[in-house]
């Protein structure tokens, strides 16, 4: 059976998707687009995992106030991901440390993993989308 075919019961195969977020929010559109993609994936009942590494960890920084730059503050959306059964949020330890951040500085509970552990997780995915 190919990945796109339905099984005998008519159910489409659930794939493991990983969204890798490596950009800071607001300066580019990547962070917001990644959020859209993860919600679309969840709407199609796919197995979604989010990884935050490099400047991507800044997407989860508490206290974002975007009124002054006239952009929508989309950071509260990360707190709503649980409502869509998106619960696999991983942050790379090395990226956090390089930015002097701790898990308490982030607006959602995350699992902090080292690069080596994250690379194993990445290898296990069917699809990895990089933002």
């Amino acid at each position: 059976m190919s990945d796109t075919e339905a099984d005998e019961g008519g159910n489409r195969k659930v794939k493991r998707f990983m969204i890798v977020n490596r950009k800071a929010p607001y300066g580019t559109i990547y962070a917001l687009e990644a959020l859209e993609v993860v919600l679309i994936g969840a709407a199609f009942d796919q197995d979604m995992t989010l990884v935050f590494a490099d400047d991507g960890v800044y997407q989860l920084k508490k206290g974002q106030q975007t009124k002054g730059i006239g952009q929508k503050n989309f950071s509260p959306s990360y707190r709503a991901l649980g409502d869509y059964d998106i619960e696999k949020l991983y942050v790379e330890r090395e990226s956090l440390q390089a930015r002097g951040l701790a898990p308490e500085d982030l607006l959602v509970p995350v699992r902090v993993l080292g690069s080596a552990e994250l690379s194993v997780l990445m290898d296990e995915q069917d699809v990895v989308l990089s933002f």
């Binding site: 580019t28 952009q71 950071s75």
Partner: protein, 102 residues
């Protein structure tokens, strides 16, 4: 007055700020905006080196961009002045011209 340089990329993802410092002259001004505001934070150890390299220049950071990213003026390295959009306009008016390091 001298040149106002602006940089808008995170110093952890690109080397724009480093190039800006290498290729600019003492006495100029550098404004960090958009993702470059991370370059003004005390919390990033590597920033100390950048600021040290810029001690003969005036450094500014755009406040609204800092706030959007969840940081306050208290988290900015001493010696870097936080300006608002009005301050940005004043800087542009005060300087001979503006050079953007995009």
């Amino acid at each position: 007055m001298a040149v106002l340089h602006t940089t808008n990329k995170s110093p952890l993802q690109t080397r724009d700020l480093e190039s800006c410092l290498r290729l600019t002259r003492p006495g100029c001004s550098i404004l960090l905006l958009e993702d470059a505001v991370y370059g003004a934070l005390k919390s990033i150890e590597a920033n100390a080196k950048l600021v040290d390299a810029a001690k003969d220049r005036r450094l500014y950071v755009l406040g609204p961009d800092l706030a959007a990213r969840g940081f306050t003026p208290e988290e900015v390295i001493a010696g870097i002045e936080v300006v608002d959009y009005g301050g940005f306009v004043d800087l542009v008016a005060e300087h001979h011209h503006v050079q953007a390091w995009v």
